[in-house]
Structures are given as C-alpha cells and as structure tokens.
C-alpha cells in the first residue's frame, strides 16, 4: 500500500511537472527526455529540459551517492548525472543532456545516448578481480551496429593493481588504489582504469565505451 501511495504521489508530482514542461515548450525536443522522465516519475531531481544539472561543488561533496560527474572525452564535455533507477545492484544515472550510464560497483554496464552505446556488458567478473587485487576475466560487451543488430564482443581482460595513486579533485586529495584492466577481443582492444578508495569504493574511473563514443571519465561523489 505504501508503495502504491508513493507511486501515486510521484505520478501526481510528475504530471504537474510534465504538463508544465509541455506547456512551456510545445515542441519538446529530444533533449531532456530523461530529465523529464525522472521528474515525471520521481517528482524530484528533475533537471530542466535540455539543460545541464547544476550542482555546486558543495552539492557534490555534501550529498555522497547523489551525483556523478562524467567527462565525455570525445566531446570534451562534463555532465552531471543523477540517479534515474536501480535494478538490483545496477544503477542508471542520467544527465540533463540526455545521456545515461548504468554501472554496477562503478563498472560500466551500459550507456545510452552516445553515438555507439554499450547496450549491455558483464561487470561482475571485473569487479571480483578488482576486489581480489587483480586477475584474468572474460566479459561480453554488446553494441548496436549500423544495421540495428546487436554486435557482441567477448573480451579477455587482465586486471592489475597499479598501486597507490591519489585522486585529486575539487581541491582535495583522496587516497586511492589504481587498477588497470586491459582487454582484447575480436577487433577490439581497450584499457579501463579504476581508482578505489581505502574502503573499496570506486571513486573514479576512465572506461571505454566504443570507438564512436570514446571514453568516459566517471567521478563518483
């Protein structure tokens, strides 16, 4: 019953928001769909249509677990993301520019809104190897090809610890251990880099999406 009430509250809040958005911007462009949906569904944290989510440094630091800062290397652009949904241990984050990422323990499971998304990827083995201090794993990554077909690539990955490597951000230094994951597969080779804080939580990573979408640097706050 509580869940239903919660949903209805959200729907009501969302409808007000959605209606407002639709009235203020009759030609809703594709940008900001996610933001609208977040707003429409959760009634909270809705970024304005097509605009970046504005979070100050204090917002980032004072609300751990609320924001991601993602640098889309190919576009040389930073975007702030908020939680859009959780599916088990996988969390989907979305930014005001219509790009979403899904991660599990910080390891990238999927992206949406990039020129060539990861449609779905294994993450568990990589995470286990990181937790074990290194290892060799196999993982599958799915992409969408130019014929709307799923292109699956099975990668052999070697994960090694690169030792202590503090993370600097927002004028602060965080102790961290750096891990590198080198993967190769048919027509594909890539290197991901992860930084874990002493409690074993990933606070930063640079992860490959695809040749058309490049790398994402993901900072977890």
């Amino acid at each position: 019953m509580g869940a239903v009430l919660e949903m209805m509250t959200a729907i009501r809040a969302g409808l007000i928001l959605t209606t407002t958005l639709m009235m203020s911007c009759s030609a809703i462009s594709d940008s900001g769909v996610v933001g609208q949906v977040v707003g429409a569904v959760t009634g909270a944290e809705a970024p304005p249509v097509g605009q970046q989510i504005n979070a100050s440094e204090d917002d980032l630091l004072d609300n751990p677990g609320t924001f991601l800062r993602v640098n889309i290397r190919d576009l040389d652009r930073w975007t702030t993301m908020v939680k859009a949904g959780e599916n088990g241990t996988r969390t989907t984050w979305i930014g005001g520019d219509g790009i979403s990422i899904t991660e599990e323990n910080g390891v990238l499971a999927a992206t949406r809104g990039l020129p060539r998304d990861i449609m779905g990827a294994d993450t568990a083995a990589t995470w286990q190897a990181i937790r074990a201090g290194g290892g060799t794993v196999q993982k599958r990554m799915d992409f969408l090809d130019d014929q709307d077909q799923i292109l699956a690539r099975v990668l052999q990955c070697r994960i090694v610890s690169a030792g202590s490597d503090p993370v600097n951000r927002l004028q602060r230094t965080y102790p961290a251990t750096k891990f590198e994951e080198e993967c190769t597969g048919e027509g594909l080779s890539l290197t991901n880099v992860y930084w874990l804080n002493p409690s074993g939580r990933m606070i930063r990573s640079v992860q490959a999406v695809s040749p058309d979408a490049g790398f994402l640097q993901i900072d977890v706050f």
Binding site: I11, G14, V37, N71, T92, S100, G120, R140, Q147, I150
Partner: protein
C-alpha cells in the same frame, strides 16, 4: 573540475562490424558513373551496399548515374543522359537528346595473390542503347597503389581498333531499327560484332589523390544516331580527388580533344553516418519490490485507472509516442499507441514498455503493446514485465527478450479505454517542394510550396488535402507529340496539369481505414485522389502479423481530372475501372518481392513485378517492371514501365530519431501503358513495419 592526469594512459581501437574486404584501394568512378578508369570499366567492385551518384560532363555528353553494388559481385546502374546525337544521315547533329539506360556488371573472379579480378558487364543494354557496350575486363593490383586493367569490349567499346569477334557465331552486330520501340532487351546485339581491346592504369598517390591513364576502345564514330562526341586519340589521362570516403571529384583530359569533369557522391547502406543513433537515453526500467511483484491484484480506488492512463499518456508523450487506448486487468496492461518518432517500431515498443514499468501497479506482470497507424491496431507484442526487469542492460538482452516476446494481431478495439481525450482533430502545415522530372525533351524542374491539411472525424476517418502553388511552372512545359495515340493520355499529359501558374488542388480525399477482421485491413478513399485522377479507391489486405506473405486487392473507379486541377472532370470525359491483386512476400535476407496483377489506368491488363533490397537500417533500393497487353509499338519509347526506387531514412544520415525518409523513383518514363493510380495510404506500407518480420529486423533497437 581538474583535468585528469591520465589522458594518455588509455588506448582503444575497435572495428565494429565486418571488416572491409582485402581491397584497400578506394573505388574510383568513371564518367559513366560505374567503378572504372575514365570511360572504361574495371573489374574491381565497390564495397557491397554502396550507392554512388555521379554527375559528369564531357563535350556533348552529360550523365547522371546511380550505381548500386547489390551484392559483393553484382552491381547495377541507372543512367539519365543528355546527349548530342548524329541524326539519321549521320551528317547533322540533334542536340540535347534525353536518354535513359541501365548497366549491369558481375564479378566472375575475385582478385587473388596471382589472379586478377575478372568481371563481365553490359552498359546501356536496352534498346536503343546509344552507348551500348559489353565487356569482359580483368584488373590486378600491384603493390599498394597501382592497379592495372585490361579488357575486351564489344559494341561502342569495340569500335576503336576493332577486330573480328572471337565469338565467331556473333560476327555481325545488328543495327538498331529506329522505328522499333525502345526499352527492349537488345540481347541479339550483346557481344556481337567487332571486338576491341582497352586498358589502363590507376595509381593512388595518397588517400586523397589518384591518377589514371587509359587506352579507350570507344571510337565515337560518326554513325547515324550515335553520340556526337569528338575524338582524336584513344589515350586519356585524369586525376581524382577524394575529399572524404563519400565524395570523389575528377578532372580528365579525354581523347586529346576535351576536358571532362565528374563528381561522385558515395553512401554505403552498411555504414550509417548517424552511427547507432543519437537519440537521448530512454527511461530505465523501474524495478518492482518483491512484495509488489507478488500481488495478484491492485487497488483501483487508490490507483484509479484514469490516473494511470493519463500518467502513461503524459510519459509516453515525452518519448514522442501517443497513447490512444489502454486496457487494464489485474495482471495485464494493454496499451495502444502511435509512434511518430522512431523509424523502428521495436524501439518504440521498447520505450513504451519501460514507461509502463514506471507507471503500472506492481501486480501487472504482462505488458501488451500495440502500435497503431491510421487509426488501426497493427499488431501486439506481449512482454513479461519480469523479463524487462531481469534483462535490462544485460548482454544478449535483445535476443533473449525477442525469444520470450509473443507477437500477434492487435486486440479488440472495444475494450480499450480511449486515452486520447483531446486529440487535435485538425492539423495543417506548409511545406516547400522541389521536383525534377524527365519527360521526352529533357529534364524539367519544379519548385513551390504546398499546404497540407487534414481533419480527423475519428482516428480512422480522415479528410485530408493538399493545395500546391508552383513557383516555376509558367506554362513552360508542354508534352511532346503523343507517342501512344491508341491509349488515353493517362500520364503523358501530365505536363499540362497545373501548368498555368495558379494554385492547384493536388489532392482532397476522404479516407477510411479499418480492420474488419484480425488479419484483414481495409481502406476506402474518395475524392481527388491524385493530380490526374479522382474517384473512389477501395482496398483490402490480408496480412497475418507473423506471416511473411500478404495478399491485397484494390479496386478503383476513377475519372481523369481537368488540367487546371480544379474540381472538374469534363475536359477528358475519361473514366476507367482499374485495380490489382497484389501479393507481397518478405523473401528473407533483406529481399522483398511484390507482384501486382490487374488493370491499369489506360484500361490495359498486365502485371508489375517489384523486387527490393532492404537493409535493416531502412535503406531501400528496389526495381520494378510492368508489362501489359499494350502492343509495344503503341507504348512508344520505353515499351513498358520500369524504374528504380531508392529510399534513405533521415535517421540514417543524421542519427536523430524520425520516421521520415528521403526517397526518389527513377523511372525510365511515365508512359500511358502500365500506369497505376497514385493513391495515398496503401495498406501494406501502413501495416508491415509493425509486423513480426520488420520488428525482428530492428529488434536490436528495443533497448536503445
């Protein structure tokens, strides 16, 4: 935010899809618009799926050619040419004759380490074939940059330094009888008469620049009805510049007499400039709690169905989807919606399903999604909500979900609660248009603006019309002589229509769409159906959702409109009963066939066969041919209607989600025989992309 210190520490390379063949040198296109040297063909091929449009000019010969590499070995071309021709005495010259033609080429042998590529081809192989040639050609690359080509040509390609045909049984080449109708297969001339040797070199200096040298076997002799092109020497040289993978420009000095220019724009149907698409992310699946999932019913007073309906409508609208109906039970939700945004209905279904996961009470375990168009439910996809939850963002999710999704015909209309409370019944807009058409006598252009308006009495019952105002037509284009006096001028008088510069009523129709039975669709259109005809058109289509086969029947009773394109029909006093039995078949492997049998506008009986190569990303290249009981002599030039149809979805080029497409039909001519009514809303095009075969083709987009 501080820039990271590890920018250079990561490296990634990735080739998605199948790597290109071993052929590394770029394909260069000749001024004849096919892979070649300057005027002569080569044995190498363009990558499969390449569409190349070429415009070229040399003295007395302007060409616009579309070349298409259908399979790795087979390619075909359509050519529109404006040629100066010698007259029947070979003494005078008739300038700017408009000619159409087709080429075919087949690669017999692929290039190996020691073996050259070998191809056989026909150029301009239908009558009258002013450029008609046949050839066998071999090309071999030497090193990374040089390709050597040598070949044997017949016809026009056998005219410079020609010798007795090595095929002794075909020593004499028949001369085309100008009194015979054109557009026939000229097979008695193929590989007949003298043969001659041609060849050349192509050297690629770097990624952008290449040079060609050619010894041509086309003499351009001053014969009756032959192209009036001056030639002093068989030797020619040229240079090509590739600005990108998509554009080739070339300049050549031909035959010691003239300069030639050509530009080729290339597009590969397998390589989408818009990549996998740039549309924004979808809403994620909303995971239910365990307790919510185990519920077997939901509290309708706490969660009124009307609230769910309006919430779903609002959230689906964000995705460009219009919810038109919703049926809720304890465990199922059936949503019918119109997709106006995504080329792929699978993607629309995927987005709608995720929105439903956000809105629907936890007890609802089954989502049934029904795409709608023209007011009719086209199909249904039955998806388990727990599958959505379990598969989201998992490798193999698309294939796994497809295997578990049940497709069927759309459900009952009556039990759907209407969700479209205030659907806009009237819509209208202006749109500019540009049209090129080639009738006898050359190419004509038209441009102007159109006012489109429609009013929906109900989603299935629509009044719509188009008023056009041409900005260029000033009574300038009159049809030539009537080549088919025996036939009513159902198309050849097209140039008279709307040519006085006043706004014209292009279309004004009252249309009703229906689905009288589960797998049967219907359409009735009444009014001014097209520019030249008005009347009534009725169609039924049987097309089961899970079948690759469809059968349709159309019957029209129409009268020819007045040329002022007003409301009148008295100018011609011509009416006809026309209609077709149509069979549609998805042959698999990206090939689609259609056979129409029946009576055409001029009262002639016959059939049209159409074959399309359709890529899953929506690029389509098709060809059709119509043969009717009209005597070819009556038919005039062209003999029978045939043409090539090309359609490229906008999202292929831009990556932005849209259902629009760019398309064109390249006809050899719009003759009076084999002419079909051009009525809007033919049912097969309305229903097929929501049926299982098409949904499966683009199912990879479900989760996008």
């Amino acid at each position: 935010m501080q820039r990271s210190v590890f920018l250079g520490s990561s490296a990634m390379t990735l080739v998605l899809g199948l790597a290109a063949s071993a052929q590394e040198l770029p394909t260069t296109y000749s001024i004849y618009g096919t892979p070649g040297l300057l005027e002569m063909p080569v044995a190498t091929t363009a990558p499969e799926g390449t569409l190349a449009g070429t415009l070229s000019y040399r003295d007395g010969l302007f060409q616009a050619v579309l070349d298409y590499q259908l399979t790795p070995r087979l390619s075909g071309s359509v050519r529109y040419a404006i040629i100066d021709l010698y007259d029947g005495t070979a003494a005078g010259i008739v300038e700017d004759e408009f000619e159409r033609g087709f080429d075919l080429k087949y690669q017999l042998v692929e290039e190996g380490s020691y073996v050259p590529a070998i191809a056989i081809g026909l150029r301009d192989f239908l009558t009258p074939g002013r450029l008609q040639s046949e050839y066998v050609v071999a090309s071999k690359s030497i090193g990374d940059s040089l390709v050597v080509t040598a070949g044997l040509g017949w016809g026009a390609m056998g005219s410079e330094g020609g010798f007795d045909n090595p095929i002794s049984s075909r020593a004499d080449r028949p001369v085309f009888d100008e009194s015979e109708p054109g557009g026939q297969s000229a097979s008695d001339a193929w590989f007949a008469g003298d043969a001659a040797v041609f060849g050349g070199l192509s050297y690629q200096i770097n990624d952008s620049w290449g040079v060609q040298a050619e010894y041509s076997s086309i003499a351009y002799a001053a014969d009756a009805f032959a192209p009036a092109v001056e030639v002093e020497s068989p030797y020619s040289i040229g240079v090509t510049y590739r600005q990108s993978d998509n554009l080739q420009l070339s300049l050549s000095a031909l035959n010691g007499t003239t300069l030639a220019f050509s530009g080729t724009y290339m597009l590969n149907a397998n390589t989408r400039p818009g990549r996998a698409g740039l549309e924004t992310a979808p809403a994620p699946v909303n995971l239910r709690s365990n307790s919510a999932r185990q519920a077997t019913t939901w509290d309708r007073s706490a969660t009124p169905p009307e609230s769910l309906r309006s919430a779903l409508a609002a959230t689906m609208a964000i995705e460009g989807l219009t919810l038109t109906g919703l049926e809720l039970t304890d465990r199922t939700a059936r949503a019918r919606f119109i997709n106006r945004r995504y080329r792929s209905n699978a993607q629309a279904i995927g987005r709608a399903a995720r929105m439903m996961s956000q809105i629907m009470p936890g007890a609802i375990e089954v989502f049934i999604l029904e795409p709608e168009d023209e007011g009719i439910g086209l199909s249904s996809a039955r998806i388990a909500r727990s599958d959505l939850e379990a598969l989201e963002n998992r490798p193999g999710a698309a294939a796994d979900l497809l295997a578990r999704t049940e497709f069927d015909h759309a459900g009952n209309d009556a039990t759907l609660a209407d969700a479209q409370a205030d659907a806009a019944a009237l819509s209208w807009g202006f749109a500019p248009f540009v049209e090129l058409s080639g009738q006898s006598g050359g190419l004509t252009a038209d441009a102007g603006v159109r006012l489109n308006a429609s009013y929906a009495f109900s989603p299935q019952f629509i009044l719509s019309g188009t008023i056009g105002q041409s900005l260029l037509r000033n009574d300038a284009e009159d049809p030539g002589t009537d080549a088919t006096p025996e036939l009513q001028n159902v198309r050849t008088d097209g140039g008279f229509y709307g040519d006085d510069g006043f706004p014209v009523l292009e279309r004004l129709t009252l249309t009703h769409f229906g689905r009288p039975a589960d797998d049967i669709y219907s359409r009735v259109s009444l009014g001014y159906l097209e520019r030249m005809f008005g009347g009534i058109s009725a169609e039924v289509l049987w097309k089961p959702v899970n079948s690759r086969f469809g059968l349709g029947f159309e019957l029209n009773e129409v009268a020819q409109r007045n040329t002022d394109m007003g409301f009148g029909f008295d100018e011609y006093d011509y009416s006809v009963t026309t209609g077709h039995l149509s069979a549609y078949y998805d042959l698999g492997g990206g090939y689609h066939g259609q056979l129409d049998m029946g009576r055409y506008l001029a009262g002639d009986w016959g059939a049209t066969l159409r074959l399309d190569r359709e890529y899953q990303n929506g690029v389509r290249v098709g060809a059709y041919v119509t043969q009717t009981d009209v005597d070819p002599d009556s038919f005039g030039e062209g003999s029978y209607n045939k043409g090539v149809v090309v359609s490229i979805p906008q999202d292929f080029l831009t990556g932005q989600p849209t259902r629009r497409a760019y398309g064109t039909t390249l006809r050899t001519r719009s003759g009076d025989g084999g002419a079909r009514l051009r009525v809007d809303g033919r049912l097969y095009d309305v229903v097929r992309d929501a049926h299982t075969a098409d949904l499966t083709d683009t199912w990879g987009r479900f989760w996008r």
